[in-house]
Amino acid sequence: MINRNIYRKEMKQYRNSFIGWSASVSAFILMGMAFYPILMQGDMLKQLTAFFENPFMKNIMTAFGASLDILTNVLGFYSTRNAMFIMLLGSFYSMFLSGKILAQEEREKTAEFLLTKPVTRHEVVGSKLAAYLTYMLLFNLVILVIGFLSLEIFKGDSRYRFNTFAIHWFYCFLLMLTFGAIGIFLSLLIKRGRPITNLSIGVIIGGYFIDVLSRVTPSVDKIGYLSPFKFVDSAVLQSGYTITGWRVMYFLGLSVVLFVLTFILYKKKDILV
């Protein structure tokens, strides 16, 4: 299912973009967390109590999963303020990469070269998916390490459990994986491998706002389930925070179904170059 030549070539081709995205997300995490000690200094956040107690603001803040208690905890701060950027950035990277890795061969007409080599269509998809998954894993390992370091550097007197951090990290990873599966699947539906960059931005931002909307407006909270963001459990300070089977099943199930459909569709696709 995996052709080593293709895998190696893809790894080489997307190395620079991986370095770029990893550097960006690391910078975001470190800079974001650098605010934490500043806000804690002289109890700046606590002076905003009145602001947070305002019923209107309270609603908005809940929508974003924030409250004073949460924001004053270092992991709470990380998971509300930073994780939003990590989730969005990571989802973009994931969907851009997966949406490109297969479709680009058609767009640049190199599919004619590749598919006249002795490889099966399954091997092409398999090798490219393997390269995608490798970079997604590496990217998330970078987030795990940098995230952990940023917590350790800036935590001050605040306390957190590493397990909680790791579980939340795992949900973010699954979220990115799911957007990646959506990306590669959508890229196949589009003729001649046209880029899906704009579509990806729409899907991710759209998904994000559906999730936010469902949290702000209780009457439409059910529509949140249309968005993968809904399935990330960000309540890191709640007691008993743990991995939930149905959330993991949702991410993995959706991803596996889309990956399998990608194999099936690509096998039957006419390559018009």
Partner: protein
Amino acid sequence: MMSKMYVIETRGLTKYYGNARGIVDLDLKIEPGEIFGFIGPNGAGKSTTIRTLLGLILPSSGSGKIFGLDIVKDTKEIKKQIGFMPSEVHYYEKMDVHELLRYSGSFYGTDCEARIVELADMFDLDLGRKIIDLSRGNQKKVAILQSLIHQPPLLILDEPTNGLDPLMQARFFEVLKEEKSKGTTIFFSSHTLSEVQKMCRRVGIIKEGKIVAVEDIENLRKKQLRKIQVEFSRPAKLNEIDCAGIINPYADGNSIFFLFSGTMNDFLQALDGKDIQDLIIEEPTLEEIFMHYYSEENEPNTLSRKQ
């Protein structure tokens, strides 16, 4: 039953893109070791045929075999034995030539390095250049090398000379002759018959998705088709010679020009008593024979139907 093993054999191979015609009911048989010319204008279905054979697109109906293997099910096995040269070259722009050729060679499990160097030298190709910086002619050379380095027993060439300068064309033909002497089968598509004429033993002519004729080049020449010019001492009228076998006549000044597939005796009798200044009878070029196949509605006595 199949008594003979063909390198390529298709039966009723058909491809529609939605409602648009690609190829219809294509029957082709390519014999081992031959150079087969596949001739037709743009849009006739040459590329569709080649893409279907290579598994880039799936047939709507019919079947095809290459080396006895099914073009849909066994496409990977088949491609181990094929060198393919596309008509338009699209390679990874960021790679340099050597990198691309090594990547290409890496799929065949044989060491292609010596052959890469030898052929690059022969075609005067700089291996260190980036693909994106190459001229069209040089990209075409990369495509030549790419199709040859793993020494496949079947070459499928889609308009291979398109974009090559005459010197390189000559070298390319030399290489093909060498390949043929090694027993390589060559399937060669083109819209210029003259280049096929030099190389091929047989040609297949495709028109609007259908094969209109498959002929030996020698037979084509030997057929009694003649190119005739009759010059009168006065302005000529188009229909003034009444004889079976006159094809596509046209009058110009004192002369009539036409292709002739009838018997010479009848023709000479038909000329009897006419005011003839000059008579030129020559062998038509393949291009002219080809045009004859292509004239919209062929007369009943065409070459293909006479057989």
